[in-house]
């Protein structure tokens, strides 16, 4: 008998929830399009669950809704808080029916007539690493800033969805705004990096070896390129 080549287990994932206050799909399409235009990379391919708690009595065309969301490069994966009937139609359209206990009836939201996306900025504390990140190690601060109190060695990689702060020498690779965030920064006390990257723009060591090599810097994204400036001015 051959060895089992997989493992099946439960896990928790963060999904975005699209809470509908109206069944007007045309208006929804327009408003969503505007919203996404503000931060396209953030939403690109994002798995979305549609919360139906405020439109349980409405007739919704899930196939249409699904293709409309896909067209906006979102990835609809399921529905929650729908009526029995809606759940059946959603399933037939290839969506999962998910259990969701919170916000079952948005009492105040009911009064709103047009569709809107409720966006919450969830603040996660930075991840702090005490000591050197060594060659061969990788640290990923998901959805938060990363602070390294020490150096990042050659062959080490530090990644953050927010900013990267290094209180030491950056000799390895640093990646900020990894999921797409153009205001992310990389700060380090001494720049000797193999690679720096922000929101998809990157520079390798060769391009970094200018006036700021070996000094304390801030690296930002400007006009789809990177800009390095001295951290201590004057």
């Amino acid at each position: 008998m051959s060895e089992q080549i997989f493992e099946l287990k439960g896990n928790l994932f963060t999904l975005s929830v699209l809470h509908l206050f109206s069944a007007d799909t045309a208006l929804l399409s327009k408003q969503l399009d505007e919203k996404i235009a503000q931060a396209p990379k953030f939403f690109a391919g994002a798995p979305i669950v549609i919360n139906l708690s405020d439109v349980q009595d409405e007739a919704l065309d899930f196939s249409f809704l699904k293709s409309m969301l896909s067209g906006l490069s979102l990835n609809p994966v399921g529905v929650c808080n729908g009526s029995q009937e809606q759940n059946e139609i959603a399933k037939a359209a290839g969506l999962s029916v998910l259990n969701y206990s919170q916000d079952v009836k948005g009492a105040t939201a009911k009064q709103q007539t047009n569709t809107s996306i409720v966006e919450k900025t969830v603040h996660l504390p930075a991840q702090v690493i005490h000591g050197t990140v060594r060659s061969g190690q990788q640290v990923y601060a998901k959805d938060r800033d990363l602070i390294v109190i020490g150096a990042v060695s050659h062959g080490a990689e530090v990644i953050s969805d927010g900013n990267v702060h290094i209180y030491g020498t950056l000799r390895g690779r640093a990646i900020a705004g990894a999921k797409g965030y153009n205001e992310a920064n990389i700060f380090c006390q001494k720049l000797e990096a193999e690679l720096v990257s922000i929101n998809g723009s990157y520079w390798i060591s060769d391009s970094l070896q200018g006036e700021h090599w070996g000094s304390a810097v801030q690296i930002q994204q400007k006009n789809d390129s990177l800009e390095i400036s001295a951290l201590v001015k004057g």
Binding site: S135, A151, G155, T169
Partner: protein, 269 residues
């Protein structure tokens, strides 16, 4: 309580076996009952450097496999009281070391010894992992060159994340930097990294700086750990390192280019 010290590096040929022999012998000279274990299965050269290769009957793998008991395999050093060697096998392959087997042997040794010095093979494969997994302290042996420093950095990362102490969330493995084959002339010429360069990158406490020395070659050719050559620069540098390991503060020697006298300049030194 017995201490397990691994002598490790990542890179080969940097002086791990030379250092294991010197440090093990140095600890025994200080009166601690010490065993040096050769983890380099298949290569076996600790016994050569210790000059006991003709006395090997049973080895580490025999003990793990239950083919001999510890007392049959341990070789007592003829020069230094309280010093023992557990040799590696020349004939087995590296997979002969199992984690359970190694742990069993270490636990048995701990009952009887003060220090257990593990001479690690090169690389970051199973054999090297096995040598460092159970360590309480690590002596990271490094040459003053870029590739050696990078490999040592890698090893420090592994000690931090994959040792038994790391996995069980205990106090982390105590790390020491041992800079070996240090050649002040080549450092001065910029051909080698300086002590400061290496320390800045690795950021761990410096245990010793062993100069590149003819005495090491003569010592290993005659099967004698270099620390027993108390006249030699390398022997003295290892003794200094032992004293630091035992908590003393000792000034560093042999860091600068020796000013050659007229005699040496004419006849070479």
């Amino acid at each position: 309580m017995a201490k397990v010290i691994v002598v490790t590096s990542g890179k080969g040929g940097v002086g791990k076996t030379t250092s294991s022999a010197a440090i093990g012998t140095g600890l025994a000279l200080k009166g601690f009952k010490t065993v040096i274990i050769d983890f380099d299965i298949g290569l076996r050269n600790l016994d050569l450097i210790m000059g006991c290769e003709r006395r090997v009957v049973y080895d580490f793998v025999n003990v793990i496999n239950g083919e001999s008991n510890l007392n049959q395999a341990l070789i007592k050093d003829k020069r230094v009281d309280k010093l023992y060697i557990l040799p590696a096998s020349q004939t087995r392959d590296k997979d002969a070391l199992t984690r359970d087997g190694v742990e069993r042997v270490l636990n048995e040794l701990k009952k009887d010894f003060d220090y257990i010095v593990c001479d690690s093979p090169a690389g970051i494969e199973a054999g090297a992992m096995m040598a460092m997994y159970f360590a309480d302290e690590a002596i990271v042996t490094t040459n003053p060159e870029v590739s050696s420093v990078r490999d040592s950095d890698r090893i420090l990362g592994i000690l931090h994340s994959k040792s038994k102490r790391a996995e069980e969330g205990l106090e982390s493995v105590k790390e020491h930097l041992l800079l070996t084959r240090y050649n002040p002339e080549r450092v001065e010429k910029g051909e080698m990294l300086s002590v400061e360069d290496v320390q800045e990158i690795l950021a761990i406490k410096l245990l010793g700086v062993i100069p590149e020395s003819q005495a090491v070659l003569s010592a290993s050719n005659s099967g004698q750990p270099v620390i027993l050559d108390s006249e030699s620069d390398a022997g003295q540098a290892y003794t200094d390192a032992i004293n630091r390991l035992l908590g003393e503060t000792v000034d560093f020697r042999f860091l600068d280019v020796e000013k050659k006298g007229l005699f040496k300049r004419i006849f070479g030194g």
